[in-house]
Amino acid sequence: MDRRLERILPRVQKPARYTGGEYNQIIKNKSDIDVRIAFCFPDTYEIGMSNLGMRILYGVFNDMPGVWCERAFAPWGDMADEMRRAGIPLYALESGDPIGYFDMIAFSIGYEMAFTSVLDMLDMAGVPLRSDEREGLSPLVCAGGTACYNIEPIAEFIDLCFIGEGEELDVEVVELYRKAKREGWTKTEFLRQACRIQGVYVPRFYDIEYNGDGTVKSITAREGAPDKVLKRVVEDFSGAYFPEHPIVPSTEIVHDRVSLELFRGCIRGCRFCQAGFIYRPVRPRGADRLIEQGISSLKNTGYEEVTLSSLSTSDYRPLSGLCDGLLEWCEPNNVSLSLPSLRADNFSIDLMHKVQRVRKSGLTFAPEAGTQRLRDAINKNVREEDLLNSCRIAFEGGWSGLKLYFMLGLPTETDEDVRGIADMALNVLRTWKAYASNKNRGARITVSTSFFVPKAHTPFQWEAQIPIDEYRRRVRILKESITAKAITYNWHEPETSYIEAVLSRGDRRLSKVIETVWRRGGRLDAWSDYFSFERWMDAFSECGIDPDFYAARERGRDEIFPWSMIASGVSDSFMWREREMAYTGELSPDCRAKCTGCGANRLLKGGRCDD
């Protein structure tokens, strides 16, 4: 170990985050390697190591002969300061080598608030920030993850983006890189070839022109890059790579368990939900395969918990059989099974008994809105009676705690909708009073509200976010409407969501804002410990940019979005139709009830989803 590091580590919090050496990490012999990849997660170790996508791609890359993929995370402030003071550049956990010398620096960016950390990690690595300042083929700075569906605010810092799922796409790009390195191509030659691979977006090959009013006038692709970059999906998801030997961190992380991915995509089509559109079409994994993968991962890790992950777990058709198959192994081995993100409408007694057989975890429902009218507008097909029925089952079964998640500021929301949240929570409490099998412990009902952020690639991409003061007013209405002591109300502070709203529909002109925020110390902005609203607002005014232009402005139907060169496979006309239906309060059926013709099925050969 680096002697300088040895001196620093005893002084920082949770030093095991910075050493590597965990069980199942992959060490390769450098002399066998021709492409070295630093997989960078622009958040802490605990968050990054909990990310299933990272675990999948770590395995996919390292399964390639001659390729060694290592990990790097954003150090917490104390460690970042110590490293800068000691002149230690950002290093990869496996080898301890500085990542600035790697062939590829690949970021996984899941949300916009990580943008400043991307810059900070590049700087800590000693790599020039802007793509045009990096002349050589290496290090090639890449990005993937859902934030890449609108990467424009940091497009000037990134050489290449992976749009969509990486299992196959990333391998093709790495193989091309290997060829480029062997044959001595220039960076431009490489990027010119790379952008011909479906799913590759090379920001520098797109010229953006703006209108006098600040909106985008035109986007022009150059160098043979496609006008629209169509996302990649793994067609055979059931057969796709799954990490059966995941790294077991030696220190506690956020999701410290085996995570099984039941399916990609979602049949629901909630109009606010970006994931619900960009992960289409729905592709399940077979239950037998999941059981095998689950047991094998549990044996290989020693984890005592397995969780089922997807956008809507109760929509997995063979869920019951899957749970039975897993429990058959889990119960005698003291392993618990947990089910996150259950929908309130089809929560069954059967399922409840299954999850509680080993260990009883908390229950969370997300009705998102307080009245049926607004739930219809956002296409959240949950009825209050279904929710109350699910609650009754849960309370009868011995649960006494329940969390309910809502959003404030959804399009068309009125004060009546806000008060509806309080009414709904009260009805849940009444249900507890009427049906709870165990009243000794008292009811613990928690209502949480977040501030709605309109996202790109959703039917609400044209919407204005409500002003911060208006969000606060609605919080006050709700707070005053909740009177029962057994109901706790938590609300998110709105400042971060406002910045998120700016960035999530931002364009390239924001790059100077992000750089300014970073230069003034901004990093790990998803953490309240580090986020400074003032720093962001100062940066906007210094750069002469009005953040409300991005957050609080309703777009016209024909406006060219900054992310218009990225195609999720869901058609623009479908998005607009869904937006109009929100205003008329019309529901769209889920994909199983009736195909709504979103267009994502064309991403699969044969054009059939959810087989």
Partner: protein, 224 residues
């Protein structure tokens, strides 16, 4: 029910695994190795594993001990290799045997320390360190759970020797108390900081070498 004990080395990257994380890690290691440790009864069963003495984060050891219970007798000869194969980097199980002696009998520890002086002059420092620790009393101010107090650490240092390895490094070999009036080796550095600042190393790292018990005459025997 049989109680077994493993002896293991914790070094390198593993030195930064905290005590709490080590317990979690060991639990998973046994599951990976397919060794079913007995669990406690009750609402929230946990594996019956007990460590001899917690080790500070950053310190290494070649004599850590941990007890665990199994339902049935097992072939202990294969366990060190089997467990080591599924350990994180830096932990090596060296022995496994039925636990007989009680952890509370551990009274002294041998520790090795590396004191680094960035300004050099290790030979002189080494001699001065020897004189310092030869003093009849070394009273330092320490913070304990019960509040701050002055105490003499000298009775907790049974032996201590220094040797300059090169111009910048002094090696320390000491036998310090583990039972009554236990001494965290870091306090050797605190003593220098408080009473002989010029001898305080710029960096110090410790490694546990052995755990001892004593007989009625006070002679040291290795704890098994």
């Amino acid at each position: 029910m049989i109680k077994y004990r493993i002896k293991f080395i914790k070094e390198g990257k593993a030195a930064y695994i905290s005590h709490l994380d080590l317990m979690r890690t060991m639990h998973r290691v046994f599951i990976r190795a397919g060794v079913r440790v007995r669990h406690s009864e009750g609402f929230n069963p946990h594996p019956k594993m007990v460590f001899a003495m917690p080790l500070s984060v950053g310190a290494e050891s070649e004599c850590e001990l941990m007890d665990f219970e199994l339902d049935n007798e097992t072939d202990t000869s294969v366990l060190p290799q089997k467990l080591t194969a599924v350990m994180p980097e830096g932990i090596t199980v060296t022995e496994c045997y039925a636990a007989e002696e009680k952890f509370k009998e551990i009274s002294w520890l041998r520790v090795y320390g590396r004191f680094e002086y960035d300004g050099g002059g290790a030979a002189d420092k080494s001699a001065a360190l020897k004189s310092f620790f030869d003093l009849p009393q070394i009273v330092i101010h320490r913070k304990t759970k019960r509040g701050a107090a002055d105490s003499d650490i000298k009775p907790s240092v049974r032996e201590i020797a220094f040797e300059a390895c090169d111009a910048y490094t002094v090696s320390v070999s000491a036998v310090i108390a583990a039972g009554d009036r236990p001494l965290n080796p870091e306090l050797l550095v605190s003593a220098l900081e408080q009473l002989a600042l010029e001898l305080k190393p710029d960096f110090a790292k410790f490694r546990r070498i052995a755990m001892y018990k004593t007989d009625e005459n006070g002679a040291l025997f290795e704890f098994k």
